[in-house]
């Protein structure tokens, strides 16, 4: 009976060592967690980004901690999430900043604290990061404009449903589209633009406002997932979707 108690005690001691070992690993900079922070979690686009991040995590032996604000307009929440991951001492952070200036202090704090940070999707107004991986969003807008020019045979009246001020990726896309229409398609006029903002509902409202204001239109450019869905719903509800004329096109990236 004494012997069995001894073995049990040994097992308990061993278990304690294992627990200490795990705790040490967690707090000593050997963390195998990578934080991935999207601009927002409510758009289907970010789900494909998440799938890619988790695939890489599995391949490379890191756990992916996925957390972002629900709405892409919620910069305060994203700043808070970065702060929480800094406190958790994760191995590194992959961040899609939802404000190109709002997130600068947190990104620079990570740089000072030697927490490697890779910026994805949208640029940030500092160079204190490891790497910036994104679509050439301006070029995405250029491609969309040329597609529009081709569908309309170079003539028509077009509206643009923008996303929101201060969002790097979409601002570049909008500029690429507008600049190219102006430069390459003299017969196409951009008659109006409006910000759709962070939800499908607000984008739907913005698109409906533009459609109501302008009776004669030939094309609509929406610059991201949410504004595209909202715009498509607005076109349908007003019975103004001529599917053959306005074939939906999307510019995607990994």
């Amino acid at each position: 009976m004494k012997k069995i108690a001894g073995i049990v005690a040994l097992v308990v001691v061993a278990a304690i060592f294992v627990i200490i070992g795990v705790v040490r690993k967690g707090s000593g900079g050997e963390d195998r967690r990578i934080a991935v922070i999207p601009k927002g979690t409510s758009s289907v686009f970010w789900e494909s980004v998440r799938a890619g991040a988790e695939e890489a995590g599995k391949e490379l032996g890191y756990e992916i901690s996925w957390n972002g604000p629900e709405l892409e307009s919620d910069r305060e929440r994203q700043i808070q999430i970065v702060e929480d991951f800094i406190a958790l001492k994760v191995a590194g952070v992959v961040l899609a900043p939802n404000g190109s200036t709002a997130l600068v202090p947190k990104v620079e704090e990570m740089f000072v604290k030697n927490i490697p940070c890779v910026i994805i999707d949208s640029e940030i107004d500092t160079d204190k990061y490891v790497s910036f991986a994104a679509t050439n969003n301006y070029q995405g807008g250029v491609i969309a404009a040329r597609r529009m020019g081709k569908i309309l045979d170079g003539e028509g009246r077009v509206i643009v449903v923008k996303f929101m001020p201060g969002s790097g990726s979409t601002t570049n896309r909008e500029n690429g589209f507008i600049d190219t229409i102006e430069k390459e398609f003299g017969g196409i006029e951009i008659v109006d633009t409006k910000y759709g903002m962070a939800t499908v509902e607000t984008a739907l409202q913005a698109a409906e406002d533009l459609l109501t204001k302008h009776a004669e239109l030939d094309g609509l450019y929406a610059c991201n997932a949410g504004t595209s869905v909202g715009s498509a719903q607005a076109l349908q509800s007003q019975g103004r979707s001529r599917r053959n004329a306005h074939r939906q096109a999307q510019v995607g990236s990994h």
Binding site: I34, V49, R50, G52, A53, S131, V251, G252
Partner: protein, 46 residues
């Protein structure tokens, strides 16, 4: 982009040199192209 972001971060953690700027590419997707395997993978469609 999620894949490239995590991969680049781990390269940096492992002490490798990583480029400051990575262009993940742009692709025009139309309704006609939705069945292409490349496009399905890009948009994470099953």
């Amino acid at each position: 982009m999620g894949y490239i972001g995590v991969k680049t971060l781990v390269d940096k953690i492992d002490g490798k040199d990583v480029p400051k700027l990575i262009d993940t590419g742009v692709e025009l997707v139309t309704v006609e192209r939705l069945e292409e395997p490349k496009i399905k993978a890009l948009l994470n469609l099953q």
